[in-house]
């Protein structure tokens, strides 16, 4: 196909991606948006397959069949509770793809050009070695960010899945110095490659340094900060794609990578704000000093009241408004469908039910919304923190299911607390608070939660799903 036609096709697909994301701004148009973006991808792919540089198809077809199978199986099998791991893995593959594309472009540029090609190249480049340099810098950047995204995402995946390693921060003495040294090595290698100084040897050094860098950057980050890390790696995968676009002068890659990069950065900011953490603190695994906070015994000693499902069901029967506060515990115990039963039962009794969604509830932005949507709970009932907080005072019962730190009143009241200043859901303002939880163990922040010992709180100890089903049964009997 004519080169101009192909370029035009890339422009069309970029436009379709933009329309696709625009569709995502409303739940009603979102499915169509996703479809438009997929069509955009098809346009770009078909155009590229007709490119005059594509001479052999066997490896392309083999790769697409293998990748397509893996991707389809992942997408169909994955449980909604495991969506953070899925996105972490996809981020990693995206980074890896950019890494390999950049590597391939580097390999092509190192091939001695022959015959007509060489003459054409010397005519085009006549004295234009600075352009050669820009391309080489773009190659280096794509390799660096792509490789960091690849290994960083694999670590994030392992942490979320608790596969081989736990979610706890992992580090060793002098880790930050090693990380800094690796970054320096990578940047120097890019600089030298751009000057055409031992490019082939240094390229390998760059790949290895960048792969190690990705590991060391994510290992020290704790489970609570994973939503930030996934969002950030999402952004990196976009920036890597953009850099790959600069190597090839490909508009589709540049525009798309920029969109994805911007998306990831915005989500990162939202997550940081919702946790009252700076990005630097997250990246360097810095937690506020836990210091002199009250111990579990001081907070809970003799003050925690627990109740059974029947008792709580009686409370609910006389309630007019109930707010459910879901957290990661809900995902852990797969309680979303049970919660839907509870909601239906309460609504059947004429109770108004809403859900309070904290931005970092779950392990990635919007995770709770997807889980509740899976259980066919209407998104109109899911209310964001800023809008639901003023309504807790008119709420008869707030039911907290597997959420902890995002309800901790110390964030509002105790200036000495490490989580002071983090925006929380003011569930303690409700007339009665029911907390469904396995035990009094602390959340990610490792702090006791005075909410559990509050005057108006009843603990319902047990597995989230079972406890909710017990409540439903008790409500139906009563």
């Amino acid at each position: 196909m004519n080169a101009y036609v192909i370029e035009f096709a890339y422009l069309v697909s970029a436009a379709l991606f933009i329309l696709g994301i625009k569709g995502l701004t409303k739940p009603k148009t979102a499915v169509r948006g996703n479809l438009l973006a997929a069509i955009g991808m098809l346009v770009a792919l078909v155009a590229t397959l007709t490119h005059k540089e594509v001479l052999a198809y066997e490896w392309i077809i083999a790769g697409m069949i293998l990748g397509g199978l893996i991707g389809a199986v992942m997408a169909i099998k994955v449980q909604m509770t495991a969506m953070p791991q899925m996105v972490a893995a996809l981020n990693g593959f995206g980074g890896g793809a950019s890494l390999f594309v950049a590597w391939a472009e580097f390999e092509k540029s190192m091939q001695p050009a022959t015959g007509v090609q060489a003459i054409m190249a010397s005519m085009q480049h006549g004295g234009g070695s600075s352009i050669e340099m820009v391309t080489l810098v773009a190659t280096g950047v794509a390799v660096l960010i792509g490789a960091v995204t690849l290994t960083g995402s694999l670590v994030a995946f392992a942490k979320l899945q608790e596969f081989v390693i736990s979610g706890k921060p992992i580090g060793f003495k002098g880790m930050q110095a090693v990380t800094a040294a690796l970054l320096l090595v990578a940047l120097c290698a890019i600089g030298a490659i751009a000057q055409d100084y031992h490019p082939q040897t240094l390229f390998i050094a760059l790949v290895i340094a960048a792969l190690l860098l990705g590991l060391l950057l994510v290992l020290p980050i704790g489970g609570a900060d994973m939503p930030v890390v996934i969002a950030l790696l999402n952004s990196y995968s976009g920036i890597a794609a953009s850099a790959a676009g600069f190597i090839m002068g490909n508009t589709a890659l540049i525009v798309t990578g920029a969109l994805v990069g911007a998306s990831g950065i915005i989500l990162t900011q939202i997550m940081c704000k919702a946790m009252n953490r700076s990005l630097t603190n997250v990246l360097f695994g810095v937690m506020a000093p836990a210091g002199s906070g009250p111990s579990d015994d001081e907070v809970y000693g003799g003050k925690v009241k627990s109740a059974g499902a029947e008792e709580i069901a009686m409370l609910l029967e006389s309630a007019r408004r109930v707010v459910i506060v879901p957290g990661f515990g809900l995902a852990m115990s797969q309680a979303q469908h049970a919660v839907r039963d509870l909601t239906d039962t309460m609504e059947g009794l004429g109770i108004e039910v809403e859900f309070a969604i904290h931005p970092v509830a779950g392990r990635m932005p919007g995770h709770m919304n997807v889980l509740l949507a899976e259980a066919e709970i209407s998104y109109d009932k899911l209310v964001e923190m800023d809008r639901i907080n003023p309504t807790f005072e008119q709420t008869d019962v707030a039911i907290v299911i597997g959420a902890n730190d995002v309800t901790n009143p110390m964030a509002r009241e105790d200036k000495g607390s490490p989580i002071y200043g983090m925006p929380i859901l003011n569930v303690d303002k409700a007339k009665t608070v029911v907390v469904i939880k396995r035990s009094l163990s602390s959340g990610f922040a490792g702090l006791p939660n005075p909410l559990f010992a509050a005057e108006n709180t009843l603990m319902l100890f047990g597995d989230g799903k079972k406890a909710v089903l017990d409540l439903v049964a008790a409500l139906k009997e009563g």
Partner: protein
């Protein structure tokens, strides 16, 4: 690629970043997870570069291997990303 083309590409990048910021800020929090998987899918556009590498047709084995790996990874992103996003969004649509 001439310096002028390079500058134009850079301008395109900067404008796309601004457009991205405007657009993404309008996506409601309830759709943030599908937004992430969806943007994963479209960042699979690297498949374009991967196809050019894997289909070079020469006898450079390293280039073929690297190109093949790039095609595999980019295709996982595209297929997995669009399918899983569709699966999630379909849940939001029904009511």
């Amino acid at each position: 690629m001439t310096p002028m083309v390079m500058m134009l590409l850079f301008a395109l990048f900067v404008i796309a970043v601004f457009l991205g910021v405007e657009l993404i800020n309008k996506v409601p929090a309830t759709l943030h997870t599908p937004l992430m998987s969806g943007s994963n899918a479209i960042s699979g556009i690297t498949i374009v570069g991967a196809v050019l590498a894997a289909g070079h047709g020469g006898d450079n084995t390293l280039l073929t291997v690297v190109g093949f790996l790039a095609v595999v990874l980019a295709t996982i992103n595209v297929v997995g990303g669009f399918l899983v996003t569709n699966r999630m969004l379909a849940m939001f649509k029904r009511k």
